[in-house]
């Protein structure tokens, strides 16, 4: 039960890295790492070891805020140690497999099966196969039911896609729903207590212990923590038509459903991470991220993040100013980003920005606001931030027509948008980026054409405002995504548009836009299809994920790696209809798989909102 720690030697790492692309991904030793040394760990027998796993490559994973937050919390505690692990890129995976070397952590190069807990960040559904691949590479059985005789490592996952816990249910010992800050310490304390009492039991020589029962006992204790869902304690009973009949708890002493999500009440009690790990190689977001708010109060009907991170919690501006200045100093970064779901809703934004600017070397350090709504009130802020480096401004109208924007409750009128863009153009911006969705419920050809009409209006505006020289540099880049209904949104019941229909709509847009000014790109609708199925899936989808993984699916979020045919083959082989989870309007009275979770918003809110959506959709027909 108490295994010795096994690590990969430097010599073997050298052999493995020979000829591998970007070897800097696998070497660790960054400034700011804070895990305990192997000596310290061996000297503390009750130490709990946690692996924080991000199922994508290093450059992507290190840009994730959640990993850094949990890493700091765990390593601050003298009784716990956290190390990181990321998905190896294909070339390194081949090397690991051919040399029969298990996946290892970055800090101590501990093999993953030496940890007490492996926590995956399932930030989105397209990471699921990578999670299975990482378990497999670690020599750990991907099915939780096959791991019952070994208490450790416990395998869990958290992150926004876990709000529907079923697609990962066959692989995880437990899932964490909601904010991880409070929960992680409670979980590790349970593990620690368990280790101590087990050692006592063994010392008292109580004979052989039934490991399966032990694991169940530990999981029961962990399941009492808020936000924890232990899949093996529950079962979905299906109706003949494949919809859910009921979700049953398997036992009387099992936590009652729905599992309420964990939510940090006072965000201010957790500072932004100041002494963060500074990557040795370039990452996707190579900058200091300062979270200014969590949650969103806007209620756009398609947006999952807008609901699952509620309630809206603001951080104190005084703290943020201090954390920003200290964080920049402690990291050496030359970019700071104020993150939230809608930064312009942070009331003291001007104060925050002005104060931070006055305390930093603003000539050198740039500030970015990734989710800013531009209007006359904050254009001055944006201008100040961009001083000289007017890269591009992003807007997300989401739909071309007012009618559709009303249906999805995107609080933006055409006049707002044109005014904002007009201001931006007059202040010197010449590059605009716009996000749209297609395949929305109630969408008609007129709505699709409205995208082109809107683009033409923007171009007309630019022609008037910009000088000839600037106008020649003017460009709009348009990004189109297929709408994918997500759990815990008012549109969770909606039917996803067919791939053929979405492709037709995209070509319709592509053939009508003025190509001289507009650069169009879009996400493949087949990827959105799989995303939709995985997000609304149940235990049967869990099997499909395993099948797809075994057939070679991984890095599904990488356009060049995503293999739609392979996924479809997996559904067909297991006789699971992917259309059931995507191209179908769910019944309003149907039990939804994710009804096992209480996200903190009543179901009646969702039904009411969806009802309004449907009325709006029909009214205008």
């Amino acid at each position: 039960m108490f295994k010795t720690l096994k690590t990969l030697s430097y010599k073997r790492l050298e052999n493995l890295l020979c000829g591998v692309e970007k070897p800097g991904r696998y070497i660790g030793h960054e400034f700011g790492t804070g895990s305990k040394s192997l000596e310290y760990i061996s000297g503390n027998e009750n130490m709990v070891l946690a692996a924080l796993a991000f199922p994508d490559v290093y450059e992507v994973g290190m840009s994730n805020l959640g990993i850094q937050i949990l890493y700091e919390i765990i390593n601050k505690n003298p009784g716990f140690s956290a190390e990181r692990v990321f998905a190896p890129w294909n070339d390194f995976e081949d090397r690991l497999r051919s040399e029969k070397v298990k996946l290892f952590s970055l800090e101590s190069r501990l093999f993953l099966d030496s940890f007490d807990l492996i926590g995956f960040n399932a930030a989105h559904e397209m990471l699921y196969t990578n999670i299975l691949n990482m378990l497999d590479l670690s020599g750990i059985d991907i099915r939780s039911q096959n791991r019952r005789s070994n208490v450790f490592p416990l395998v869990c996952s958290g992150g926004s896609s876990c709000v529907n816990p079923w697609p990962l249910s066959k692989f995880m010992d437990f899932l964490v729903i909601g904010d991880g800050e409070d929960v992680i310490v409670k979980i590790l304390n349970e593990i620690k207590d368990f280790k101590v009492s087990l050692k006592d039991a063994l010392r008292k020589n109580m004979g052989t212990v039934n490991r399966k029962l032990l694991k169940k006992e530990l999981l029961k204790k962990i399941s009492k923590i808020e936000g924890i869902f232990v899949p093996e304690f529950y079962k979905i009973i299906y109706k003949p038509d494949s919809t859910v009949k009921k979700i049953r708890a398997l036992g009387n002493d099992i936590k009652k459903l729905p599992v309420r999500k964990a939510s940090v009440k006072d965000l201010n009690s957790y500072s932004n991470v100041i002494t963060r790990i500074i990557p040795n190689i370039r990452t996707v977001h190579d900058r200091l991220n300062i979270e200014i708010m969590r949650g969103c109060s806007r209620g756009c009907r398609f947006c999952q993040a807008g609901f699952i991170y509620r309630p809206l919690r603001n951080r104190k501006v005084k703290d943020l100013i201090q954390q920003s200045v200290r964080g920049l100093k402690a990291s050496g970064y030359d970019e700071i980003s104020f993150t939230s779901l809608s930064s312009s809703d942070y009331r003291q934004l001007p104060e925050l920005i002005n104060s931070v600017i006055s305390q930093i070397d603003f000539e050198r350090i740039s500030i970015s606001l990734p989710s800013m709504r531009l209007d006359s009130f904050n254009v001055d802020i944006m201008e100040k931030l961009m001083s000289g480096r007017k890269t591009g401004l992003t807007f997300a109208p989401e739909a071309g027509s007012q009618r559709l924007r009303d249906i999805i409750k995107k609080d933006l009128t055409e006049q707002n948008l044109l005014d904002s863009i007009g201001i931006a153009l007059s202040k010197g911006w010449v590059k605009i980026k716009l996000y749209f969705m297609v395949g929305l419920p109630g969408e008609r050809d007129e709505d699709i054409d409205a995208i082109t009409e809107l683009l033409n209006k923007i171009i007309d505006k630019a022609r008037i405002i910009l000088s000839g020289k600037d106008f020649s540099r003017f460009q709009i880049s348009v990004s189109i995504n297929a709408f994918s209904p997500k759990p815990f949104t008012p549109m969770q019941w909606a039917c996803q548009d067919s791939i053929e229909s979405i492709n037709k709509k995209i070509s319709r847009i592509n053939s009508s836009i003025p190509k001289k000014y507009v650069k169009l790109n879009w996400t493949s609708p087949s990827k959105s299809r799989i995303e939709c199925v995985l997000s609304r899936g149940d235990t049967r989808v869990s099997d499909v994920i395993e099948y797809a993984f075994r057939s070679g699916a991984k890095f599904d979020n990488w356009t060049d790696k995503f293999n739609y045919d392979l996924w479809i083959k997996s559904f067909n082989e297991l006789d699971v209809d992917h259309g059931f989870y995507s191209e179908r309007e769910y019944g309003i009275n149907e039990i939804l798989p994710w009804d096992a979770v209480d996200i903190g918003i009543s179901k009646s809110y969702y039904t009411r909102e969806y009802g309004i959506l449907k009325i709006k959709k029909d009214q205008l027909r």
């Binding site: 430097y10 790492l13 890295l17 020979c18 070897p23 800097g24 696998y26 070497i27 660790g28 030793h29 960054e30 400034f31 500074i278 040795n280 190689i281 370039r282 100093k329 402690a330 990291s331 050496g332 970064y333 030359d334 000539e363 050198r364 740039s366 000289g388 480096r389």
Partner: protein, 239 residues
């Protein structure tokens, strides 16, 4: 030779040249990665640095020539420009405190005027190779055969000297030098490393490690390292 005391300091600029090691796992980091790590460490130190101009000002840092990925270095040099003065001992302590553990600053020296560019100043580079079991005499024979037969004439010009040292199973071949010749036909270290591996493989020797050991500047018939050249008051090669 110009005495340091006779030089008037450039009042708003202070120059430091330091030597550092890039060892173990960090041999897998590129030149650009190291440049980034160093600039962030300098910024974390809170030093008043000089920055480049433009929209994205970066600290003014010059590194010695890049080495191939996978080769350790015990002879990396870096020049920085500061807006404030600092004692070199304190500087070394502070920067090491702010660097990841596999980049280690070993020594530093101030210069009153801007030193000549590190990349162009270097005449010779010393590399050290550790060779697995085998007779040193055999290895030397094979190596000299290789030099004799070398198609590439520039190899002889680029190799300043070489020798083997140590009586244990590890043998060191030293002074593989790259002379930046006027005709630019230098034998690149990358190619040398590849060729060395090939001839060693053919003859059953194993290359255990390759590392950069030191950089030298030829001055009045002497080999001086980039910090010694400052210590001797030579700021520019041709003074």
């Amino acid at each position: 030779m110009i005495e340091e005391k006779n030089l008037k300091p450039d009042r708003d600029a202070f120059y430091i040249r330091f030597k550092f090691f890039k060892i173990k796992e960090f041999k897998y980091l590129s030149h650009l990665d190291v440049l980034n790590i160093l600039s962030r460490a300098l910024l974390r130190m809170g030093m008043q640095l000089k920055f480049s101009c433009g929209f994205n000002p970066k600290p003014r840092i010059t590194l010695s020539s890049p080495i191939p990925l996978g080769v350790e270095s015990y002879g990396e040099y870096c020049d920085i420009e500061l807006k404030e003065d600092i004692e070199t001992e304190k500087f070394v302590k502070l920067i090491n405190f702010n660097l990841p553990d596999l980049l280690i600053v070993k020594k530093a020296r101030k210069s009153l005027i801007k030193p000549q560019n590190l990349m162009s100043q270097i005449d010779l580079v010393l590399y050290e190779f550790k060779i697995g079991k085998g007779s040193t005499d055999d290895f030397m024979m094979i190596f000299e055969d290789f030099l004799q037969q070398a198609q590439n004439i520039s190899i002889k010009k680029s190799l300043y000297s070489y020798n083997i040292s140590g009586s244990s199973s590890f043998k060191i071949l030293g002074y593989t030098n790259i002379v930046p010749g006027k005709d630019n036909t230098i034998y690149k270290f990358n190619n040398f490393l590849q060729d060395l591996k090939i001839i060693m493989n053919k003859s059953g020797f194993k290359l255990n490690s390759a590392r950069k050991k030191e950089l030298y500047i030829l001055k009045d018939g002497n080999l001086l390292d980039p910090i010694e050249i400052l210590a001797n008051g030579y700021i520019h090669k041709n003074q």
